[in-house]
Symmetry: C2
Subunit: 327 residues, 2 copies
C-alpha cells in the first residue's frame, strides 16, 4: 500500500527554499500556512501576493492548495500543497462581504478571534467570554455558504462551543492540545473536544512548547500518550496535526503575534518577561523532517496502521474534501 | 447679560447651506457632528476631507471646533463651531496608534461601540455584554492621554459602567434619554446616569423619536419633565442636549447606520419592517430653529436662568474646556 497522506494543519515559518525542501524530506503533502494575525484586508492581500510569488518561484516544490484534490495532486507530483489561512478575522474588517472575497483569493481557514475579543467572538486571553456576536452569527453563515473553514484555535471556551453549535459545517481547532494534559490557556477543555468530535470537526495537535506538558522538554512518549487519550474522547477520525511550527522566525515575530497594534504596552501572552521569545522546539520535532518520529511514536503507544494514517493526514484530507467550497 | 452658549452635542444631517443658516437662526454656537458609523480609517478620513471642504466653503456660517475656545470664537463672530466625532471605533481598526492620528485630524468624540460588539466594548443590541476588552482598556488610556472624549451612547450597560470607571477623565453619553422615562434599548439605566454624573460626565438628551416617550407624538412638557427628573438623579451640571437630528437624510442612511456591512440581512434596529425609515421629528423640534422652544419648555417646568443656561450649552462648554487635548 502507498503511504498515507501527510498533512500539517498549521505552520508559520520564515519561508525559504530550505524549508520547502525539508517538507519534501518529511514527505509532507499539504501544509496550512498563516497569512494574517492582526492585518487589515489590504495588508492580508499583500501577504497573499507574497505567497503567490513564492508559489510561482518554487513551483518545483510547492503548489497552491485549494481543495482536497490538490493534496492528492501534490502527492502524485512529489510536492507540497500550501493552504492559506488567517488566524484572526481582522482581514474582513467589519464587512461580511469580504468573506467571499478572501475565499476567492485562496483563503481556506479563518479563526473567529485571536487571543482578544474580535468583532465575531471572544479570544482565550479575555477575562470575560460573551460568545458569538451578532456579526459573528452572520459571518459563520457566510463562511458556511462559501466553504471557508472556521478555526477556533485561539478563541475562548463559550465562543468555541457556540461556534460549533451555530456552524452548519464542521469546525476545526487547527492547533491546540487538550487542557487535561497541559493546562495552558490555549489548550482546550474536554467539553470542547467532545463537542468538536461529535460535530464532525477536527483537532490538530500542536508541538509548540507552550502547549506541551514539560514544554520544550516534553517527551515524544508523553505527546503520543496524550494523543491516545484524546482519541478516547473524540474518536480517532477527528484528530490530526497542526504543529504551529514557527521555524526560523526572529523573536520580533512572536511579539507581533501577541501585541499586534492593539496595545502600546508589551503583552507576553504565553511567554513571560524572562522567556519572551520563541521557545525551543522539542528534540523529536525540530522541523518538517521529523514527521517520521511522530509516526514511530504513535505506533509505540499502540495505534494501528489505519489509525496512524488517519492521524498523520487522512483525517484532515477528508475534512478538506468536505469543508472547502460550497457544500 | 449676554445669552448663554447653545450647544447640540449630536447631529447627523444631510449637510447643506440651508441647515447651517438654520443653526444661525436657532443661535446654535456649537454642534457635534458624526463622521463615522461603520467606516474604516481611510473611509473616515474621506469624511473628514468632505467636512474640511464644507468648512472652507461655508466659512461665513461655520468654523472648525477643536476646543471650548472655538465655541466662544464662533459665538463672537456669529457662526457655529463644528466638532467632529465618530459613533464607532471602526476608524481606528485594530490600531491603538490611530487614536492620536484621528485626534490630530480633528476628532473630539469617539464611541467605543455602536449597537454591536466592537474590538473595545459591547453595543446595546448584543445579547451578552462582556464589558471593556483588553484592547478597550488600552484605547481608553490612549484617549485619556490625547484628550479624545469617550462617548458611550450606543454601548451596553456593563461596558458603559466599566468605561466610566476605567476612564481617568469624565466620559459622555452624547445622545440618549433615561430608561425610567422610555424603556428603549438605547436609553440609559438610572445606575448609568448616576455613575456618569458622579464621575463628572455629561448626558445629552435626544429628541430622536425612538428615544422619546410617545415617540413622534411626545409632548414638549413630557420631554422637559423628564429633564427635571434626570436633573434630580445627575445634578443640573451634567446634562445638555444631543438632539440626534438627522435632518434631510434619505432612509438609505438609517439602513446604513443599522446594517453597515456586518450583515447581509436587514436589521431594523430601533425601527421595524412597518416603520423602517427615519421617524418624524416631534413638532416642537423640527430642526435647528427650534432650540427656543426647548428653552421655553425648561422654564415652564421650573428651571431657573442659570440652570437653563447650563442645560442649553454651558455644561457642554465646561466639558469641552476640560476634555479635549492633554490634561
Amino acid at each position: 500500500m502507498d503511504r498515507s497522506h501527510r498533512i500539517d494543519c498549521l505552520q508559520y515559518a520564515n519561508w525559504t527554499e530550505k524549508i520547502f525542501r525539508q517538507m519534501r524530506q518529511g514527505e509532507l503533502d499539504a501544509v496550512h500556512v498563516t497569512l494574517a494575525y492582526h492585518e487589515s484586508f489590504r495588508e492580508a492581500v499583500r501577504n497573499i501576493q507574497d505567497w503567490n510569488s513564492r508559489l510561482d518561484c518554487h513551483r518545483d516544490l510547492i503548489i497552491p492548495g485549494r481543495t482536497g484534490e490538490d493534496v492528492r495532486r501534490a502527492r502524485e507530483s512529489g510536492r507540497t500543497a500550501v493552504f492559506f489561512g488567517f488566524q484572526n478575522c481582522s482581514p474582513i474588517e467589519g464587512d461580511v462581504g469580504l468573506v467571499e472575497i478572501v475565499y476567492r483569493l485562496g483563503i481556506r481557514f479563518m479563526q473567529l478571534s485571536y487571543n482578544n475579543q474580535s468583532l465575531l467572538a471572544t479570544g482565550c486571553y479575555e477575562a470575560v467570554d460573551s460568545g458569538i456576536t451578532r456579526m459573528g452569527r452572520q459571518v459563520i453563515k457566510e463562511m458556511n455558504r462559501v466553504g471557508l473553514a472556521i478555526d477556533m484555535s485561539h478563541s475562548a471556551e463559550r465562543s468555541t462551543l457556540e461556534a460549533i453549535e451555530l456552524s452548519e459545517r464542521p469546525t476545526a481547532i487547527t492547533h491546540a492540545n487538550p487542557a487535561f494534559w497541559h493546562g495552558a490557556r490555549r489548550n482546550k477543555s474536554t467539553d470542547v473536544l467532545r463537542a468538536l468530535g461529535e460535530s464532525g470537526g477536527m483537532l490538530g495537535f500542536s508541538t509548540y512548547p507552550h502547549h506541551l506538558k514539560d514544554r520544550s522538554a516534553c517527551s515524544l512518549e508523553s505527546f503520543c500518550e496524550m494523543i491516545a487519550r484524546t482519541a478516547e474522547v473524540m474518536g480517532t477520525d477527528h484528530i490530526g496535526f497542526g504543529s504551529d511550527l514557527c521555524q526560523d522566525q526572529p523573536d520580533s515575530v512572536v511579539e507581533w503575534m501577541r501585541v499586534g497594534r492593539w496595545t502600546k504596552e508589551i503583552d507576553y501572552g504565553e511567554g513571560s518577561s524572562d522567556d519572551a521569545g520563541f521557545p525551543r522546539m522539542p528534540i523529536w520535532f525540530r522541523d518538517n523532517r521529523d514527521f517520521g518520529n511522530i509516526e514511530t511514536g504513535l505506533r509505540a503507544v499502540g495505534f494501528g496502521d489505519t489509525e496512524i494514517a488517519g492521524i498523520m493526514g487522512e483525517n484532515w484530507l477528508r475534512y478538506f474534501d468536505t469543508s472547502f467550497g460550497p457544500s
